[in-house]
């Protein structure tokens, strides 16, 4: 276990370390009970994955934390404060990308900054950097309908990263990108977690990805959604990303999670 890793492992979440805490949150859509009395803590400077069958309420939970949806009961505490609406400390990557069709890639990426009142030249410099970062250099002036699915998703990602929020809510951010981009992004996220102490809440359907990246994984089971299990994988990433798939330690955690999820289905 590397030094950083063990530090994380020891720093068991104490009061002041919790970046986001949800307590007894419920949410119904008409007759559909999406979330029921859910409580979860997201420690600061860690990456928490939400893993669960589709339709179990992951997007709903993320939107509630972001302040985009009203919950029916319970409370959301971000940085010690009860929140009811969106705030500058949280940025969102949308499952359906939510790009502005009338705006270029540049304007879309800079849109978060634009809304924060950053002057044009400054925000375009910054956006430029993130556009490069997600591998879209050269497409600054393209419109969303001229991009492939994965490219659109990366625009949404760049937009969220560029506003420099300290809690990032990512709803299946890599579902449409290719393997090598995904791996690069994973490394980028991990370095943001390690170096800038950002807090990530991350929805994914890939158990492997969750196990590889997460400090903790919340397994959710559906209707109404509840936390089934919390797992802290503590993978030793120093072995190199290419070798990890062969590590029995890693494979065991993946299998264990898979077993939990499958148990529910059957």
């Amino acid at each position: 276990m590397s030094q950083t890793e063990s530090a994380f492992a020891n720093a068991h979440p104490t009061e002041q370390d919790i970046a986001v805490s949800i307590r007894g949150v419920s949410k119904n859509y008409g007759a559909v009970e999406a979330l029921k009395d859910m409580s979860l803590d997201f420690p600061r400077g860690q990456l928490t994955s939400l893993l669960g069958p589709s339709g179990c309420g992951k997007t709903t939970l993320l939107k509630i934390i972001a302040g985009l949806l009203k919950h029916d009961s319970g409370e959301i505490i971000v940085n010690g404060k009860n929140v009811t609406g969106p705030g500058p400390n949280r940025a969102f990557v949308f499952q359906d990308f939510a790009l502005l069709p009338w705006a270029t890639v540049m304007r879309n990426v800079a849109f978060g900054l634009e809304l924060r009142g950053v002057p044009r030249s400054e925000r375009e410099d910054k956006a430029e950097k993130y556009i490069k970062g997600v591998g879209l250099a050269g497409f600054e002036n393209a419109y969303p309908h001229e991009l492939s699915g994965g490219m659109r998703q990366r625009v949404g990602l760049a937009r969220a990263l560029s506003v420099d929020a300290n809690v990032l809510l990512l709803d299946e951010p890599f579902s449409a990108v290719d393997e090598q981009t995904r791996r690069k992004f994973q490394e980028d996220l991990l370095s943001l977690v390690a170096n800038e102490k950002k807090t990530f809440i991350f929805v994914t359907h890939s158990i492997e990805e969750a196990v590889y990246c997460s400090d903790q994984i919340a397994l959710l089971l559906p209707r109404p959604s509840r936390v089934h299990e919390m797992i802290r994988p503590q993978i030793d990433r120093s072995k190199g990303v290419d070798n990890i798939p062969r590590e029995p330690e890693y494979l065991d955690i993946v299998d264990q999670i898979w077993a939990s999820l499958r148990a529910y289905v059957e």
């Binding site: 985009l68 609406g85 949308f94 939510a98 502005l100 705006a103 849109f111 978060g112 809304l115 506003v163």
Partner: protein, 253 residues
Amino acid sequence: MQNRALYLKVLSALLVFGAWEIAGRIPVSYAFPTFLESMAALARMTFDGSIFVAYAETLKPLVVGVAISTFLGIGFGLWIGLSARFDWLFSPIFIVMQAAPLAALIPLLVMAYGIGLTSKVFVVCIMSMPVIVLSTSSAVRNTPASMKEMAKSFLAKDYEILLKIIIPAASPMIFSGLRLGVSAGFIGAILSELKITPTGVGDIISYSRSIADYPSMYAAIFSIIVLAVLFLNLLEKTENYLFKGNDRGYVTD
């Protein structure tokens, strides 16, 4: 592509003008001049400058009225689209305005605002504002929810959601409303010149009609149409320039 569009325009114009010329020569009616006669009349009015004098007069109420309707109309439209309360209170007014038979109401306007510019501006506004308001408000209601949500997550203030999400998303509808509004404004300007006081182009139309100088009458009508079309093309250019990405092209391409 560019060229094809141009060819098509020229070709269809030729067809229509040709048909006009032939219809005028038959003639379908003694009151229906040929295309060439009308163009000759137009040329005459252009060279002696009378058409410019007329337009200087006609454009006054038109420009003022259209400017007022555009700003107030979009403003009201957005407000109605956004606020149920406002919708409840005010949209009936615009429906009434839209349906009101203006020609029949002109005595009322004359009574209230006299026979001068104010009445004419009023006629232009009554004609053009309701379409703009109604188009804008229905477009506002159809703004994609996910984009509003996205903007909210990035802390857009209400006015920013309005300016940066709702207006661009509604812009195709707003612009089609604007087009109709502007053209209704043209109708209003002419109507007021026919019905309140004949000045400007309305005067040319009614005077040449009363002296049975039909070529001049058709020339005046023709010139208004040309002007209106030029104006609308300008509007379309503006739309394409402002909201380029909204143009997703044609399915057949």
